[in-house]
Amino acid sequence: MLILECPYCGVTGEETEFHGGGEAHIKRFGPGSSDADFETYLFMRENPKGVHFERWRHVNGCGKWFHAARCTMTLEVFGTYSAQTFEPPKEIKDAISAKRPGWSWREFS
């Protein structure tokens, strides 16, 4: 059972306090987009072994969505940050680099 820290209310809580919401930083494609883009948006996933960015909601707490950077092989959590951003903040990327030099995920590294 994971422990996560909600970046909004600062509470460190049990996994059962949160709800996983799948991959983070997915760009929405709406009306007018191509079939391929729309498919990618809804279904295609990184599903990496290693560094991953994902969404969580502090559902049994403040109710806020946030992002976590986590390793899917070890479950190590590199950090959590606001969901209201288009890319992981520098300190999160630095924290990952310190532990997993040379990591990359989609366009981020």
């Binding site: 994971l2 494609f29 009306p31 729309f38 969404r55 909601r57 969505w65 479950l75 959590v77």
Partner: protein
């Protein structure tokens, strides 16, 4: 024979006799006994039968690793199978029965398998029983199943209770032996909040049994002082009878506390499951002695050397009068010496090491014990009890040199650290050549949330078997743990000690070394599952080369003891068979829990009435008192109908519908979801959430809205009310409130976070009553207050104000197709409103109706129901709801998805009404068949029923369904074959069966 000695027994209280029964016999023991020690004291060596061959089995260990002495315990609602006698504390009135035999423990017919053992090697069942085909299911499997299983199945409801307990600690120490106690002390002195748990009732572990000096005091006294010191510290919590069950990710630990297993007369829960978050975990879980693999090593009376010593020292029980000791290490000499000193005979110590033992061997010889180096047991004779051992050279093939009579054999194959808890969460092991054991690899610990190790092994669990060094290792572990937490480790003032000087252990995996097939087929590795050396060798020979293959093929280590005695021995035999070193052969994965824990404790308090929370509307009690026939809807309980007198639910539903349509019905609609969407951008947001244009809705007006998922599928519907310019009230389905609230929040927070919109769920803040039927207006007018006349409050309008004494929101909306109002009042006024409406309605024959009447009435009107007409694969266009999809909006959730090839497609099935040609009701879920079969031989279908009811209003069966090209096939008759063997013929009609022009709801 085994018996109670007149002296000795540190744990038992000889002045407190206890009476218990075993297989119906009444026996006596003492307080402090385990069931195993008490049985041995009564000369009951035979305690069970093995799984496969039904061989007679005695107790072999003295703790959690015991594979043989498993009992059916207790009776009735307290009955429990597979209880280990070695960890069951004796109490007055204990009832135990041995398992897996028929007709009795002494005479077991199943032992015929033993005679056939040669025909039943590992995996024999994979090679046989395949002919003839039907016979597996009907002949072989029933026989195999009957003979399988150990304890009896409980039959009654558990009368005990269980609880969960949440705990947080900086350092959790698992194991209360000398290393664990010292680790706890060091951590506590350093300022950490410490929890230490010990599965046994007593603290101190082996140090208390084996003695020796720590500083100036005997080990037992040192332990007492340590325990007293820890008990006096505010930052230390101590629990005995509590096992560390599992270590999980990020420092999660479960502790299994057995509160009343030893004292059933006490009040309170039987087991308490501790759910612990630990900063650091210290596993001081000790080590387990390994058996030696010689022929007949499973005959009752053959026991682990340390266990035999435990029974002698702790319980004053002699396992036999003449005890042969066989060993590959020095520790077993302690058993020989203890036996000799107790006045019993040790005819010989067989030391498999050519060089023999260290200093302790001299001590044994000085006591007059014969010691034979380089010798082994070729074979143990005896059936239900050891009679003799045949001695041979360890280096040979088993040529018998001598036969020695004895009634017990104490064996020791060395020790294996208990690495289970270290390994549960990914801690890796390293092979220690010197001691021939796997121990934790400090370089590769399990890693926590921050990527650092969070488990520290200590003492014997870390491969440190010497008491004094173990104490120091405990201190070291305590220091490592607190330092990992950023604390400064305090100095713990360790006592001086002498490290015992021991001769090295010799690896002995088979005895004798060159044992032939006959001996190997009688040398047990896994006692409970009857796996022998020959079985593991066969697995290797047949190519089941990985440890996991061998384990699964032979069932080695898969029994209730999970291989605590057998895993390493089996692995060693396998690696020899493969001619690979042991570490290269690998080790199996350890899974939680360490020993089996009760399902009751896992479930905790949540059972029966408190299984899950129950949601009640403010009017719940009225429904309950007035014949409500309940239906669970999510966590809600809703009235399906209200039963009067002897009527059936079906009759009640018809009565409720007819009364409502004729005059007046009341529906408790409080469970409907109610979400408030508010803010300057509320209109824009509503336009994204709903397929309809909501931003154009005028305040005070209602609009039926549809919501789709981004994947295009219809997910919820309901009436949206614009309360004010910047405030919408969204009604959702009963099951949808939380889901839709979360859905809205998700989009608001993660996609349009710059929009100024706030959503809140007020479902439980409001009670809501549907007042339905031609007389509904009259009832409201009777209550007085707000004007609800046709002119002031038209269909699909909303008003608020005082309705009688109530603060009401009144929506003129209809799901039944009648003149109807939904009245929402603060939840606290709900019950009173219901009473007032009921009283005012009495002159109109008011009839409360339930969910089923609601469903039927909406179906009569052709209104769709989320969950009936939709199932997650339906888009609004399938249901003729194009009118509710805005063409003007550029975007809304689901719009893009609905443009995909399979969705924007005239081939999709469309909603129609269905009327059976004979008035019967089409069965729920029936499909409409088309001609022919598809490529997979399945009958082609062209549609299906989505809702089907008997309509009391129309006096016939009506249905809604989806049909290929449906709207263009009005009047056509199509077929729905039922699982009842009948075919239902139905005419395709409009789905609106009742009042198609909507005149009744508009009056």
């Amino acid at each position: 024979m085994s018996t109670r000695l007149t002296t000795g027994g540190a744990r038992i209280a000889r002045n407190k006799p206890v009476t218990f029964t075993f297989n119906g016999k009444t026996l006596k023991g003492f307080e402090g006994d385990t069931l195993a020690s008490a049985l041995l004291a009564n000369d009951q060596m035979l305690m069970g039968r093995s799984f496969k061959y039904h061989r007679p089995r005695g107790v072999v260990a003295s703790g959690a690793e015991e594979p043989n002495a498993l009992m059916n315990m207790g009776e009735g609602g307290k009955f429990e199978p597979n209880q280990r006698a070695t960890t069951t504390e004796l109490f007055d009135g204990l009832v135990a029965q041995s398992q897996n035999h028929w007709p009795s423990l002494e005479v077991d017919v199943g032992v015929v398998n033993n005679a056939m053992a040669r025909f039943l090697p590992a995996g024999f069942y994979y090679k046989t029983f395949t002919f003839p085909k039907f016979a597996w299911k009907h002949v072989y499997e029933p026989i195999i199943r009957k003979s399988a299983g150990l304890g009896k199945a409980p039959t009654e409801r558990d009368v005990d209770t269980y609880e969960h307990f949440y705990f947080f600690a900086d350092v959790v120490v698992i194991g209360g032996g000398i290393a664990g106690l010292q680790a706890a002390k060091t951590a506590a002195l350093s300022g950490a909040k410490v929890l230490i748990m010990e599965q046994d009732p007593a603290w101190g572990g082996r140090a208390v049994v084996d003695g020796g000096m720590l500083g100036e005091v005997p080990a037992a006294d040192y332990v007492s002082a340590l325990v007293a010191e820890l008990e006096g510290m505010d930052n230390v919590t101590m629990r005995n009878r509590m096992m560390g069950a599992g270590v999980y990710d990020h420092g999660y630990v479960t502790g299994y506390e057995r509160l009343r297993d030893h004292a059933p007369e006490m009040a309170g829960p039987r087991h308490r499951l501790w759910r612990i978050r630990a900063g650091q975990i210290i596993t001081a879980t000790g080590a387990i002695e390994r058996p030696l693999s010689f022929a007949g090593n499973d005959v009752p009376g053959v026991m682990l050397a340390a266990a035999l010593r435990d029974y002698l020292v702790m319980y004053g029980v002699s396992v036999g009068d003449r005890v042969v000791v066989v060993t590959n290490n020095d520790d077993a000499y302690r058993t020989a010496i203890a036996v000799k000193k107790a006045g019993l005979d040790v005819p010989v110590i067989l030391d498999a090491r050519a060089e023999g033992g260290g200093a302790i061997a001299g001590e044994a010889r000085a006591l007059g014990i014969r010691v034979e180096n380089g010798k082994a047991i070729a074979k143990v004779t005896g059936g239900k009890r050891v009679k003799s051992v045949k001695i041979c050279a360890q280096a040979g093939e088993g040529g018998v040199l001598e036969e020695i009579e004895c009634d017990a054999v104490a064996m020791s194959g060395g020790f294996s650290p208990v690495v289970h808890l270290w390994s549960h969460c990914g801690g890796k092991l390293t092979w220690d050549e010197e001691h021939a054991m796997f121990r934790p690899d400090a370089e590769r610990p399990p890693k926590g949330a921050n990527g650092e190790g969070f488990v520290v092994p200590a003492g014997a669990a870390n491969g440190v078997l010497d008491m004094g060094v173990g104490l120091a290792d405990g201190d070291h572990a305590g220091r490592l743990a607190v330092e990992a937490l950023g604390l400064k480790a305090a100095d713990a003032n360790l006592p001086a000690f002498d490290q015992a000087v021991e001769a090295p252990l010799a690896e002995v995996w088979m005895m004798p070394q060159g044992a032939g097939p006959k001996l190997r087929a009688k040398a047990w590795l896994d006692y409970q599952n009857d796996v022998k050396v020959s079985d593991v060798q066969l697995a290797a020979q047949e190519g089941y080369e990985s440890v996991e293959h061998t384990k699964r093929y032979t069932t080695l280590g898969m029994a209730t003891d999970q291989g605590k005695l057998s895993n390493i021995n089996g692995l060693a035999v396998l690696s020899h068979a493969l001619d690979k070193p042991i570490p290269a052969t690998g080790t199996t994965t350890f899974r939680p829990p360490y020993t089996p824990i009760s399902m009751g404790s896992i479930a905790g308090e949540a059972r029966g009435d408190v299984f899950q929370p129950l949601r009640r509307t403010p009017m719940h009690d009225w429904h309950e008192a007035n014949g409500a026939h309940w239906e669970p809807v999510g966590h809600w309980r809703r009235a399906y109908c209200y039963l009067q007198g002897e009527e059936t639910p079906h009759e009640a539903v018809s009565r409720e519908i007819l009364a409502t349509r004729k005059s007046l019905g009341l529906l408790d609609a409080s469970t409907l979801g109610k979400l408030i969407v508010k803010g300057p951008d509320a209109g824009k947001f509503m336009d994204m959430m709903y397929t309809n244009m909501m931003s154009s809705l005028k305040p005070g007006k209602c609009r039926y809205g549809l919501m789709c998922s981004e994947n295009g599928f219809l997910s919820d519907d309901g009436v949206v009310v614009r309360l004010e310019d910047e405030s919408f009230l969204c009604h959702t389905t009963t099951g949808g409130a939380e889901r839709i609230h979360a859905h809205m929040e998700e989009w608001l927070q993660t996609e349009w976070w710059d929009w100024e919109v706030y959503v809140t769920n007020v479902t439980e803040q409001w009670a809501q009553v549907g007042v339905v039927g031609p007389n509904s207006r009259k009832v409201l007018e009777k209550l007085g207050g707000v004007d609800v006349s046709k002119e002031t409050l038209a269909f699909m309008e909303y008003t608020q104000g005082k309705l009688g004494a109530f603060d009401a929101r009144i929506f003129r909306i209809s799901f039944a197709g009648e003149l109807s109002y939904e009245i929402a009042v603060p939840a606290s006024q709900g019950a009173a409103l219901w009473d007032a409406l009921y009283e005012a309605g009495e002159e109109f024959g008011v009839t409360p109706y339930g969910t089923e009447a609601m469903h039927v009435m909406r179906a009569e009107k052709g209104f769709i129901m989320i969950g009936d007409e939709t199932d997650g694969t339906i888009i609004p266009q399938d249901l003729g709801l194009n009118w509710a999809i805005s063409k003007k909006k550029e975007d809304f959730l689901g719009k893009r998805a609905q443009k995909r090839a399979f969705m924007d497609n005239p081939e999709r099935w469309q909603l129609v009404g269905l009327e059976t040609t004979d008035g019967s009701v089409i069965p729920d879920g029936a499909y409409c068949v088309a001609e022919g079969d598809n490529a997979n031989g399945q009958r082609n279908v062209q549609g299906r029923v989505t809702s089907t009811y008997y309509s009391p209003t129309l006096g016939k069966g009506i249905a809604m369904g989806l049909l290929h090209d449906g709207p263009n096939r009005m009047g056509e008759v199509v077929s729905f074959p039922g699982t009842d063997g009948k075919s239902y013929e139905a005419k395709v009609v409009s789905p609106v069966f009742y009042d198609p022009d909507g005149e009744k709801q508009n009056v």
